[in-house]
Symmetry: C2
Subunit: 294 residues, 2 copies
């Protein structure tokens, strides 16, 4: 396959036109808050068939993240239009090739005092496509800290916001990979939280869907929301519910859900194998349908 160049739009964060940027040139300055302290917010979407998937939910979470970090309010329609334009241009250039689309809004350059913003499309990697098809092995791990009880959460703390601060999470993933696992599931004692960059979905023997409630160490998931909406429309039971590691081991199947990988079936947890479930085929189809829809 020939190498496919990324497609980059520089965004006027609060409105105005987008500007194509040559991907072979840098565009971020040394004093941009994204670089100096990861001080910005991010969304990652799937571009499929010339359209951004699950667009409204991503735009809403992006707006909330920006608000929480004092970068808002943003004009979500402006970002949605840019994503639609990017998806169309991507499809024109690379028909039938799915892409990962990242939105970044940073506090901007210290010397300028205005936010910087951009949007990038890159092809979905081989690894991600392989994990969609073949599933993943995971290890569970604590995070090294515990979220405090709600009444002790400081009012300044950005909650349910997706920032650029992922260095520690990536250290966990590197550790897992070095030990032969594909991914991690974060736990607090035996309580299941979330994947490194994904949401844990459990399918019960009866075909019902469960996920740990968002908040307290679990990011609100756009993918889980889309999946549950589609499942509910099919008449399937869905519920946010506290889950223990044992609930995963005894489930019909466990999936890691995220925008660009969509669903990866968990094949083993800490070395305990999870054999194929009886609902796998329908769940896989349901995930694909829910996470490629606009």
């Amino acid at each position: 396959m020939t190498r496919i160049d990324p497609l980059i739009y520089i965004i006027e964060p609060f409105g105005g036109s987008v500007r194509w940027h040559n991907p072979n040139l840098p565009h971020v300055f040394f004093d941009d808050a994204a670089v100096t302290r990861g001080d910005g917010v991010v969304e990652t979407l799937l571009l499929s068939g010339g359209r951004p998937a699950n667009l409204a939910r991503h735009a809403q979470r992006f707006a909330r993240s920006a608000e929480q970090f004092g970068l808002g309010p943003i004009d979500t329609e402006h970002w949605e239009r840019a994503a639609l334009q990017l998806a169309e241009e991507w499809e024109d250039r690379h028909e039938g090739v799915e892409a990962r689309c990242t939105w970044t809004l940073s506090r901007g350059r210290a010397s300028a005092g205005v936010p910087t913003a951009w949007m990038v499309a890159t092809p979905i990697s081989e690894t991600v496509r392989g994990q969609r098809d073949n599933g993943v092995t995971v290890m569970t791990t604590g995070r090294g800290y515990r979220i405090v009880e709600d009444e002790h959460v400081p009012e300044w703390l950005p909650q349910g916001a997706k920032s650029l601060n992922y260095a520690t999470t990536m250290a966990a993933v590197r550790h897992a990979r070095a030990r032969g696992f594909d991914d991690v599931i974060f736990v607090e004692d035996d309580r299941v939280l979330e994947g490194a960059t994904s949401t844990v979905i459990v399918v019960s023997r009866s075909g019902a869907l469960r996920t740990p409630p968002a908040g307290r160490g679990v990011l609100v998931s756009t993918s889980q929301a889309a999946l549950f909406a589609a499942a509910h429309a099919q008449g399937r039971k869905v519920k946010e519910k506290k889950l223990l590691i044992d609930d995963l081991l005894s489930a019909d199947s466990v999936w890691l859900l995220s925008s660009t990988r969509r669903g990866a079936r968990v094949r083993a947890i800490d070395g305990h194998e999870l054999p194929a479930g009886q609902h796998d085929t329908e769940i896989r189809a349901l995930i694909e349908e829910a996470l490629t829809a606009g």
Copy 2:
């Protein structure tokens, strides 16, 4: 005062020459791990009188940070040489102007798979110079999480490492500033941890120095190490010791210590005023001496 341009060196992370970079041009690519997930390590030093202050301790912590994030081993002598060269060039251009010098080592571009590295000098800001002279008011706040006990810390967790992930900390500082405070001190219940980008130093009525022990939510401090070494050489008592908020309120004086601001006397904590202490003059001189030495 005329505007002083930053001075930027692009660094070959593992050896080789440095390269001057035009500060009016960007040099960071959209897919650099520093930008996409704050996945890199950082040090900030003072350049004073044509020399980097406290150089060896910064180089050692930088090396440890890199090691903890799987970016090492690095050649500390290479980084020290670059800093010496930068400090000299800065002094040639701007004699007598103190500078803040930042070292960044990022995991690099996703498409390249090699680290990127650079070093920047910028003038010490008016705000920082004002806080050195006039002190700061602070608010105390929890972090929203608790570090787990040592035996539950996962082995992959980078400890005592200074990464680019400062977005949440900066949210606390913005909150404090919006309420009329200059800075924050993080606490766990009534136990004192550290400042947002500084170390808490308490001077007792007898002139002894105390600081909370590093680890468990407190970063190892190069400034505190330099200060304690200089104080000890003077025959002053120094000790790492658990400190409560009440210990701060009853102290002779409290200081926030960091490389470029050096010492800022805490004038008030959560609205409780801390009047000038009897040791202030000597402590101020000691801090200045300890934190400008090579």
